[in-house]
């Protein structure tokens, strides 16, 4: 006796997404910089924006809090994280891609006014954060070309999860 009708490949539900709609919503940045908008930002402008819109929650120099510490330059003599549970993790010593700063700040910060910064403002405050973390010089300009080129010190440490379960040794 016939099981109920087999599933069709397509049901025809939903409507086509328009190019315009996709462009308006699809703002995620790829680690190679794909998706970064036009515009640019400087460390100086970023310092002003940071002071005005971010310092209240992240501290004057990005370390005072009360919320997440944003500044932790990578230092040669710093012990590896697996031996220093108390060591602060922040952009300079832990983030593997500079593009993530732009992507995250644009969508989620300031916490109480997400999505309120212009692209140029995001480029500027990203520049300041990179500068404060000693990853770019004071005169650097961040844009769709220069931002992805910034090599983050922690990238080389990232490995993909290798746990498999089973009765082998713990990983």
């Amino acid at each position: 006796e016939r099981r109920n009708t087999a599933m069709p490949e397509h049901f025809g539900y939903g409507r086509p997404a328009t190019e315009k709609e996709i462009a308006a919503i699809a703002i995620a940045i790829h680690p190679d910089g794909k998706g970064l908008p036009a515009g640019s930002g400087t460390v100086q402008n970023g310092a002003l924006i940071y002071a005005a819109k971010c310092a209240a929650c992240h501290g004057a120099t990005g370390v005072e809090g009360p919320y997440n510490i944003l500044v932790a330059p990578d230092t040669v003599d710093a012990p590896p994280f697996d031996k220093a549970p108390k060591r602060i993790k922040a952009i300079g010593n832990y983030w593997p891609y500079a593009t993530t700063i732009f992507d995250y700040v644009r969508r989620a910060m300031p916490f109480n006014a997400p999505g309120s910064l212009s692209d140029n403002e995001v480029y500027s405050v990203t520049a300041w954060l990179l500068y404060a973390n000693k990853l770019i010089g004071a005169n650097a300009v961040m844009n769709a070309k220069t931002l992805p080129a910034v090599v983050m010190p922690a990238r080389k440490y990232y490995v993909t999860d290798s746990r498999k379960g089973g009765d082998g040794p713990y990983e």
Binding site: M7, E9, A17, I22, A28, H30, F81, P96, A108, G165
Partner: protein, 377 residues
Amino acid sequence: KMVQTGIPEAAFDPTRQVGPLPGVLGTRSPFEHPQRKPSLTSSQTPLQDLYGMITPSDLHFERHHAGVPAIDPNSYELMIHGMVDKPTVFSLADLKRFPSVSRICFIECSGNFRKPDKENITPQDICGLTSQSEWTGVMLSTLFREVGIHPKATWFLAEGSDAAVMTRSIPVSKGWEDAMIVYAQNGEAIRPQQGYPARLLLPGWEGNTSVKWIRRIELSDGPFMTREETSKYTEPVKDGKIRQFSFTMDARSIITYPAYPAQLQKGWVEIRGLAWSGRGKVQKVEISTDAGKTWNAARLQEPVLDKAHTYFRYLWQWNGDTTAIMSRAIDETGYVQPALQELFAARGLGTGYHLNPVTAWLIKRDGQVVYSPEKWK
């Protein structure tokens, strides 16, 4: 409309007074006050106060990055685009027309371990960022077939419509396996705190990946390296490495009775708790009542389901001597829940996520039950 009046905490003879008549919605007894423990970013399920494997929907744990958005189901849309044949936008009604599936499984936050700093700490405090529901929705594979996925697409970005606009990169293989878009929780519409009107559900994977209030899925040929999978939800492991895309929640269990703040009497005690694994079914739960020297199998409440909280029970007689009791889960892959020291030995001290250690409870001579740190090893 007849609203169920509060049941009075009366101290009269209930057989002598007609009570409130049927109403549109039931109520909890005024003698019962189960509550979550909230912080700014999360709230923990009162595991020690629960029974069986279903978590009451209003006690399901929360972990949000910008609070709970208020979404109108009539204007809600889910867009699937990127490396697809037909970029498509689905309404909630569209999602509900597709063939539906219901399944019971847990969600657990990757950071669901608070290293106890004192004796008086409950299962809720230690392990409360995990809950279980019967979820109903549409398989993501059904939507993938609907829009047509490019063969070269190996990842997809899942994006929520909260004020953090939270994003995670997910391998397409999980999408084809058992991923779902769910719109119902324990028989009714999913709750706002769990993603109303629809969320991604990745059974067995860290909760953060099951993006709540999902609004967009972008198919791509690589991960986006978002903040939640680089700055957060990654773990320093040995040799200075940093582990990324550690999705699966390893097997874990915790005794929820007797646990702090229970008070034991000598004699028979049924040790009870929950066990689960992101890698499939719990195969076995072992209990030790002699501080880890010997272990014996507990009884699992049938049916034991895939990637689901499984209730366990172990009948024991307490003779009044002080001792430590604990449980360890073994899943269908043979993986045995480790001690905290074993995790630190394998990964170093820097790891904060994916901590699924055995939890031990000390039973004092006076029957008081408190948390027992691992010094007994």
